[in-house]
Structure formats: structure tokens, C-alpha cells
Subunit: 215 residues, 2 copies
């Protein structure tokens, strides 16, 4: 497979983990989001939205949107299962994934950060209040649910890693990049550490990808 | 089934359409978002995130997050299929759904609108610039993709209604509520009208629910 991604992208990180866990060979082309490569015609022809990741599986059209890609990989490829069999457990794993991928991550992507600074004239540090608020709201929801719902195990849903964990760890890594305090979220922290202890997750880590800052 | 929703909620609208298309009997309890009922302990016990919809299927725990609920209904209930069989077509339908449910709708929910006004002291009309920008960005992506990709038919993916259309029409109805211009999006408009022509969609329409403004 061929993936267009970016070292920092939380959405590309989720897909990269799934590809590695399922042992699917892939090559990743890095789109330089800071240089605006996502807006150039060459990439807009791949994804008119100008967002990573985009994944090619053979000759078909590009697959886009990280959760849609994760479901596609789940439905078409073998290897480790990343959604539980039981429909209610699947629904819970997906719901937790969407707390991150719908209600948290889209609020702090570059497009939104740029808009807030340009349209409202906010200096970067004031704009970052919104980023941290978005992270904190998502982390609070995850902590309450994971700490209070009986479905939680070693991972978000029971003892097997699922889409929920791929999303959770992508948010967790973002707290380091954006300097978001994490002390109030011990259950989220425990599960993130369980994910990061897996070689596939560690290898997929943003800071281990080309283009990432060194040291 | 028992659903907690709100007349204005785009996410509740999506689930309401699916329940009606699949002819699943349900009762809806309206949570008054303007009065802050989503923050009260009684509702937080149902969904710690304080978001609608929440759906009860029998005695199980509440199902939350609209896309996770749609997948659950698809996997466990009969009736009209709302995702195509072919994995690539499914992935495209899901990707289009997520353009709305991940990258557009979460940016203009009450929580975000309130934050922008309170934290940045923006008057309502200035805050609304962000709301309209979010709608416009989502609509532009949908128009480019639906107008340019061969998978588009009478509906977003071929000639059968799918999760993509449920999300699209939920965004479309929002353009009326938030006074967002829609002239530049003829393909989106065509598909939204095709959806609204279905009795199940018309009956699920926000303005036909209890609590909605009259006339």
C-alpha cells in the first residue's frame, strides 16, 4: 500500500499503527503541512479536502478519513483484529474512538488554528487556549468513561487493542506536542502507556517518522 | 428503543433517520440543550460527555456517538441497508460521512460557540463567522468530491441512501438554521433534496420535532 501522511498528524498515526499491527507492507510519502503541500494541485488531486492520511490499496481510488480507513482495513485484511466481535462492544469501541476523532482532534488541526489567528487576530498563545481547551474536554470525557464504564480493561474495550486505543494514543501523543497537562487523566495515561509499549505503536510514533524534530 | 435527543441536533437527526428508514420503533426524550439539561447529573449519568444522541436498545448500556450508533444499527438490525456491500464503496460512504461528522459538525456545536464567545469575548455575530467558515469548508469538500468522483449517483454513494447521505442532509438542514449560503454547492443540494423527498427523512426533520420553533 501507499500512504500519504505527515509525521505530526494524529490521523496518519492511527492508520500507521493499524498497518503495522496487521503487518501490511506500506510506503509512506510525507506531505509537508507546514509548507502547505496539502493545498497544492498534486495533492488536491488525491484528496480534494487537502487532508492526510490518504491511502492507496492497489489501483483503486484513494481511501480517506482515518476511521473509514480503519474500518476498510478491518473488513478487507487479515491479521490482528482491531474491533471486538460483540456488537455492543464494537459500538463502545467506536464511540470512544469518535470522542477523539470527531469531537476532539478536528478542533485543533492546522486549518482551525490558522483561522482563529487570522480571522480573530489572536496571538498564537491566546489561540492555544482553544487548542488546550479542546484537548482537555476530550481527555475529561475519556477519563470519565474509561474510569467508570465496566467495559474498560487493559485497553479501552477489554484487553485487546482496538480503534478506540489507536485514537486515544494519537490524542495522548498530541498532549506532548501541544504541552497539555495530563495529570488529571490516570486511566487515559495507563492505556496510552499500554499502547506505546507495543512495538507496532512505538514504531508508528510521530517522533520516529521522517520530518519529525530530532532529540 | 429509547433515544435522548434534541430537535436541533444534527447528530440526533442522523440517528432518527436511520431508525425510521429501518422501521425500528423508538421513543425520543428531548434534552433541552439551551437550558443546559445535558450538563445535569441525570443526563451525565447516561452520557458523561453531555452530548446527544444517546440510544438505549433494551437493557444494555447507552449507545453514544452518532456514527457508532449507525454502525451498530447496521450490524444488528434488519431493514433497509444503509451501507453498501462492496468494501471500497463502504469506505467511500464512510469517508464522506466523516467529512461531516468529524471535520465539520463538531466545530459548530454549542460547546464551541460558547467557548469562543466567553473565552475570546467575541460578540455573537463575530463568533458566527467561525460557524459559517466551518460549514463552508465542509460544503466545499463535499461539493468537490461528490461533483468529481465517479461513485456519486442519485445519492452520495450510488443510488442507495447511506450513512453519507444521513450526514449530508444533517449538514444541509443546518445551513438553513445558521443562514449559511448554499448556492455554490449544487451537487450537495441535489442530494439533500433527494433525501428530504423520502418520507422517513422528512418525518425525522429537526423542525418537525417537539421543541422546534413553529412556522
Amino acid at each position: 500500500m501507499k500512504m500519504y501522511g505527515n509525521w505530526r498528524s494524529a490521523a496518519a498515526f492511527r492508520v500507521r499503527i493499524a498497518l503495522k499491527l496487521k503487518q501490511i507492507p506500506y510506503e509512506e510519502t510525507f506531505i509537508d503541512l507546514d509548507a502547505g503541500d496539502q493545498h497544492r494541485p498534486a495533492f488536491r488531486a488525491i484528496n480534494p479536502q487537502g487532508a492526510v492520511p490518504a491511502l492507496f490499496d492497489g489501483d483503486g481510488p484513494p481511501l480517506t478519513q482515518s476511521l473509514a480507513i480503519l474500518d476498510y482495513l478491518e473488513e478487507t485484511k487479515g491479521g490482528v483484529r482491531l474491533l471486538p466481535e460483540d456488537p455492543r462492544a464494537r459500538a463502545r469501541a467506536r464511540s470512544l474512538a469518535q470522542v477523539v476523532a470527531c469531537d476532539t482532534h478536528p478542533l485543533y488541526v492546522p486549518r482551525v488554528r490558522t483561522y482563529l489567528m487570522e480571522a480573530y487576530g489572536l496571538p498564537k498563545e491566546r489561540m492555544m487556549d482553544f487548542v488546550r481547551h479542546s484537548f482537555t474536554t476530550g481527555l475529561e470525557t475519556l477519563e470519565k468513561r474509561l474510569g467508570g464504564e465496566p467495559g474498560t480493561g487493559r485497553f479501552c474495550q477489554g484487553d485487546q487493542i482496538s480503534h478506540a486505543d489507536l485514537c486515544l494514543v494519537s490524542l495522548w501523543v498530541g498532549t506532548k506536542i501541544f504541552a497539555v497537562p495530563t495529570e488529571p487523566y490516570p486511566t487515559v495515561a495507563r492505556i496510552a502507556e499500554a499502547c506505546l509499549a507495543l512495538p507496532a505503536v512505538a514504531e508508528a510514533h510521530p517522533l520516529r517518522q521522517p520530518g519529525a524534530p530530532q532529540g
